[in-house]
């Protein structure tokens, strides 16, 4: 099978984000970047699919040179080849989808795995746009997947339950947490990745329609309340923890 996995190189969710002096982008200094966690599920599913049915796993990413670090990690996990489409990072989802579609259509995939969203801008839009551009069916938020007789059957999360759907191939799958447990890049995999190719391409992003006016950090002031030890206060605290903070 020709298996394509899209990859987004995003700031680590544990990292402290700082905004650049232009107030429109994230200051990359001191920020560690990682493979988008949902894309890790997509990579793992791609690798498992290859292990079952044979074929190639090709990683396609839109980004700058920094993304090579994450592509290399995907190669170390076991993917066969990486493609980095270089372009301006401050673009809308449709531009990213178009950039990916141009390259992915050339690859003639049997299946495309994407993360259900990337944890930087959280638009949850690229994979579905990509499906439209490639004229392929897409199944989102998938937690379990089976291939048989040139078709696939997927369980996907819906509000309050699971939906089981079938699709012809090729198709686009977006991976939800729970689909699998991503493997570590092994030491041997890391050594093997040194000789795996990363192809570079460029994309003209001039048709981008969305621009960022300003980025702002959330208000960091915490609203504190102090409760006394009266029974009524404790009940109120429990209610707030349950209903407002939603932590219990």
């Amino acid at each position: 099978m020709q298996i394509v996995v899209t990859l987004s190189h995003v700031p680590d969710t544990a990292t402290k984000i700082k905004i650049s002096s232009d107030r429109k982008s994230i200051d990359p200094a001191g920020v560690s970047f990682v493979i988008n966690p949902y894309d890790e599920f997509a990579i793992e599913e791609g690798l498992r699919t290859k292990e079952k049915f044979g074929g190639n796993v090709i990683i396609v990413s839109y980004g700058n040179d920094g993304a090579k670090e994450s592509i290399k990690k995907a190669l170390a996990m076991g993917a066969d080849k990486g493609i980095l489409i270089k372009g301006d990072l401050n673009v809308d989802s449709l531009t990213v989808a178009k950039a990916l579609a141009t390259k992915i259509s050339e690859l003639k995939p049997d299946v495309v795995f994407c993360g259900k969203q990337s944890v930087d801008y959280d638009s949850s839009a690229v994979a579905q746009m990509l499906a439209e551009l490639l004229n392929l069916p897409s199944i989102s938020t998938v937690v379990s997947l089976e291939f048989s007789d040139g078709k696939l059957k997927a369980k996907r999360e819906v509000e309050g339950g699971l939906e089981i759907v079938e699709s012809t191939l090729p198709a686009i799958i977006t991976a939800q947490k729970g689909l699998n447990e991503p493997r570590y890049a092994s030491i041997k995999g890391i050594m093997a990745a040194k000789s795996k190719p990363i192809e570079e391409a460029t994309f003209d992003a001039s048709q981008n329609k969305l621009s960022v006016n300003e980025l702002r950090l959330p208000d960091s002031k915490r609203k504190s309340r102090i409760f006394d030890s009266e029974d009524a206060s404790i009940s109120e605290l429990v209610r707030l923890l349950r209903e407002e903070a939603k932590v219990i």
Binding site: A76, I187, I190, M191, K194
Partner: protein
């Protein structure tokens, strides 16, 4: 919380991408798989055996050996970084990997026949077989050349007699690399666990390296076939070559423990309020933190250059002694100072410091005591051996 490492001097800029990736993959593994379970194993005095297949799948065992034996062919700097991350988890986990790699696979690779290598190395790399290394004896520690264990040539093999002590992994090992004197010269032998007359009782009562197995090896008229003699060993020097490999890993490993102690103490000092301000704001605490960070940075630079020398074939055993000696001493001292910053909280297993500190008490003296490494470097620079 993910561990971000300690890198005040941008030492990461001196590392190649694959070296950083190798480190980061083990870092993730330690965060996910070691830290959640290690305190329990430490308290109960058990080694987490379930981690062995996972460490094998990651390619940790014999990582520097060639691919033809199922190994990764990693360079020495990357190998050192793996040891650093494993020891950040626990010295017992790093010790397991050191013994499997530097003290079992390395001697088989270096002194073994092609048949021995083909048979043992892939199994040891996959973690299907566990190894240990028997050199030290109850009465011969710093002076291993005085060993009592003897090999006697008989038809088809050797008869081994003697006792080894302080053997990491002894009771769980499938094969022991045992050093014994044959006609007065030290030779290496592969002793399998089910050989008649061989036993490996576990040593109990340790206050250190509790998440690691330490054993005696008892050899009572053990017949070892010729096929299990390591033919390319050349006296005690061969055993010491193995120790140089293991000491190299230790010099890197203890930096992991030091990093944990430092970052724990720094976080604690910033949040612990006394006299209405964080204790990190007091000069005496700052002096301790700055000293810790400076020593970590010096230790990092020491092993990085040592690793580069080793990869160029220029590292001598005396270079390794200097790094082992220095890094173990400062790592232990950093743990002690960190414990002081945490005050009473520092003794609880809620924090990892006391465990690392207790481990490093052993690490400072095993694989050559601090004193012996001083004398090794002392002899090297003066030409006069002070230990004879």
């Amino acid at each position: 919380m993910k561990f971000e490492g300690v890198d005040y001097y941008h030492i990461d800029d001196l590392l190649f991408d694959d070296e950083k990736m190798a480190r980061n993959t083990i870092r993730e593994f330690v965060d996910d798989k070691v830290l959640p379970i290690i305190e329990k194993h430490y308290r109960e005095g058990t080694f987490p055996m379930h981690l062995v297949p996972e460490m094998a799948a990651l390619g940790i065992f014999g990582a520097t050996l060639p691919e033809k034996y199922g190994c990764a062919g990693l360079n020495n700097v990357a190998y050192g970084l793996l040891m650093q991350e494993l020891e950040r988890g626990d010295s017992g986990i790093r010790s397991f990997a050191s013994v499997q790699s530097a003290l079992t696979m390395y001697p088989i690779y270096t002194f073994g026949t092609e048949e021995q290598k083909d048979y043992w190395l892939p199994k040891l790399a996959r973690g299907e077989k566990i190894g240990c290394f028997g050199l030290t004896e109850p009465d011969y520690g710093s002076n291993p050349g005085g060993m009592i264990t003897r090999a006697e040539k008989v038809d088809g093999g050797f008869i081994l007699n003697g006792t080894k002590m302080w053997i990491t992994n002894g009771s769980i090992a499938d094969v022991a690399v045992v050093w014994a004197k044959w006609n007065g010269v030290v030779h290496g032998f592969l002793v399998e666990k089910d050989f008649k007359g061989f036993s490996a009782p576990e040593m109990k009562g340790k206050h250190s390296l509790r998440a690691s197995i330490t054993s005696e090896l008892v050899l009572d008229n053990v017949f070892v076939p010729d096929s299990h003699w390591l033919p390319n060993t050349q006296g005690l020097k061969s055993a010491l070559m193995c120790l140089t490999q293991a000491r190299y890993g230790i010099a890197w490993g203890v930096i992991g423990s030091a990093m944990v102690a430092y970052t724990t103490a720094l976080d604690y000092a910033k949040s612990r309020i006394q006299f209405s301000r964080p204790i990190a704001g007091y000069q005496l605490i700052q002096a301790k933190l700055v000293w810790m960070l400076t020593e970590i940075t010096k230790a990092q630079l020491l092993v990085l250059q040592l690793g580069r020398l080793k990869d160029q074939g220029k590292a001598r055993y005396t270079h390794v002694s200097m790094a082992k000696r220095n890094n173990c001493e400062v790592a232990l001292e950093i743990c002690r100072v960190a414990r002081e910053i945490l005050g009473a909280n520092g003794i609880l297993d809620e924090y990892p410091i006391m465990r690392h500190s207790a481990n490093l008490e052993s690490v400072k003296t095993y694989e050559g005591t601090h004193e012996m490494h001083t004398l090794i470097v002392g002899e090297d620079i003066t030409g006069i051996p002070a230990y004879e």
